[in-house]
């Protein structure tokens, strides 16, 4: 039981890092980006290809995955995404589905459709065990590493948002882009940086999760719903909302799949509908935005 809880927390933390970029883009530009999973997949493939073809060590590949997807995100934001901001939501949805289809087929073409296997370094294969019987707590070293990394990331992001000049500009732009622009905040540039950073985080999450979530070309479609659930349920106006939503989702998913294997996904979706009926704007939002 504690082992499952632990695995659920690790899974939830991973989902949080993966979907944070999506939450920020949705909150900032009111843009529904279904192609977010494509960035996560790109990060995963950067890691796998660097390890397999170039022989890089695992830990060096993680920053590389972040940087590569952040650059790709910045490039796409400047060229493709920016003209779509003012368009209706239907157009944004179709545009990003189109991008997702392209990324799936492109990865299939260049790398192949097989499941990719990540060779974790030896130090992550260890497993700590405490207690015995049903209350035994088993913690895989790799999952501990993920939780630690994600906690550090979440704390530093919170500090970035709350304490720095960039953070206050970003929050101002989220609250009201027009007034922020009127005050001389370069909203375009703030958004470019945020989009790139969010894509980078997704890439990092994809690289971290390649071992746990699995990595094949259908990744963006398979996990799209999960990222969207985190954003819709958690709300897009703070970091806490997506964090709590991701943890709940991760724990519910792991527990559900263990105790009622055939109904696991059903529980997650039904719970999401129920929460959205109860609070259509998400659990942790101030009332009356947009």
């Amino acid at each position: 039981m504690p082992t499952l809880l632990f695995d659920g927390i690790a899974y939830g933390m991973l989902l949080f890092v993966l979907s944070l970029g999506l939450a920020v883009t949705m909150g900032l530009m009111n843009f529904i980006n279904l192609a977010h999973g494509a960035f996560a997949m790109a990060g995963g493939y950067v890691l796998v290809l660097l390890m397999q073809r170039a022989g890089w060590p695992f830990l060096a590949c993680l920053p590389a995955a972040f940087v590569a997807t952040a650059l790709a995100g910045a490039l796409l934001e400047r060229t493709l995404y920016r003209p779509m901001y003012g368009k209706p939501h239907l157009d944004q949805v179709l545009f990003s589905i189109g991008l997702t289809f392209m990324s799936v087929a492109a990865v299939d073409f260049f790398v192949g459709s097989q499941q990719q296997i990540v060779q974790l370094p030896e130090m992550f294969k260890h497993r700590f065990e405490f207690g015995s019987g049903p209350w035994m707590l088993g913690m895989g070293a790799y999952r501990l590493f993920i939780i630690a990394l994600c906690v550090v990331l979440a704390l530093s992001l919170q500090a970035l948002l709350a304490r720095t000049r960039f953070g206050s500009r970003l929050r101002a732009a989220v609250d009201d882009p027009r007034v922020a622009a009127g005050l001389g905040i370069p909203v375009d540039r703030v958004f470019l940086l945020t989009f790139a950073f969010g894509s980078g985080l997704a890439g990092l999450g994809g690289a971290l999760g390649a071992d746990i979530l699995g990595l094949d070309p259908s990744f963006p479609l398979k996990y799209m719903v999960y990222f969207l659930i985190v954003c819709a349920v958690g709300g897009t106006s703070s970091i806490t909302g997506p964090l709590v939503a991701a943890l709940v989702l991760g724990i519910a998913d792991v527990m559900g799949k263990y105790y009622v294997p055939k109904l696991g996904a059903f529980i997650v979706y039904a719970l999401m509908i129920a929460i959205l009926l109860w609070r259509p704007q998400g659990l942790f939002t101030r009332e009356g935005r947009r």
Binding site: M26, I32, L80, P83, M84, K87, H89, L90, D91, Q92, V93, L94, F95, I97, G98, L99, T100, F101, M102, S103, V104, A105, A106, D108, F109, L221, V225, L228, I229, C231, A232, K262, L263, A265, F266, Y269, A270, M272, I273, L276, L277, P280, Q281, R290
Partner: protein, 321 residues
Amino acid sequence: MSAAERLRAPARWRAWEIALWVVIWGAQFGFAGHAALVNEIAILALFALSLDLILGYAGIVSLGHAAYFGTGAYVAALFAKHVMPDPLVGLAVGTLAGALLGLLTSPMIVRGSDLTRLMVTMGVALVLYELANKFDNITGGADGLQGVVMGPLIVPFVGRFDFDLGARTASFYSLGVLFGAFLLLRRIVHSPLGISLQALRDNRLRLAAIGLSVNGRLAAVYTLGAALAGTAGALLAQTTGFASLDVFDFHRSADVMLALVVGGVGWLWGGIIGAIAFKLMHDLLSAFTPQYWTFWIGLFLVALMLLGRERLLRPWTWWRR
């Protein structure tokens, strides 16, 4: 032209509309060899029409319309297998099932933002997918529901037709249902209900201010759209004699939206033209590159959205900025 005439003008049949239907029926009699393709196109067109009612006329963005399509398909298949093999009765039952589910789920789509609606509609389809997967003793699970044998189609005063392998009967059946649905919808969208729906899409607040019930009208149109999606699903199950989990799949909801957008949202011909264009494009692309055709569909979507989807059907605006 008096005011009353001007208001009625959009509801009049145009010469090109009649001509198009003559061409469609003519093609059906002319190209007997492509009956299976015609059947698929007619079903997709009906499905797209039902989405157009919801998306184009009422402005509800739905990524889970396959929920009603799949319900119609499974109910029609189970009805034919266990109760009665008559296709017309089965079609009515499938339609009713779609309508019932639509009525039950319509309170979910009246609140919240576009994102909430997107997630709830998608969630309904996902939940049904999981349920169909779970109760595999009824639905056949991942293997699909097999052994559906349809009885002959008995049209009063015309005769009886057996469903054959060449899909000749099936294509006439589907096209006939599509034609009937088109006539019905054409009547509805030009009725006061249809006009109030367009008003609702453009400005909800004003519709409420002139004393019309926004939620009631949303529920009505959503139920109607769900019923027609159920009809389309029932047609698919009946003409192929098969229903599988695939009918609830996400790609079905995405495909129908794509077809509708290609044809144009917000007018009834959009669904039909879009279905024809989408199926032909699909056939051409998958003949050209069977494994990677989704790449080109994706590229087409991205380009279409960047250039503006309303321009596709208006070639005279292509070179204007």
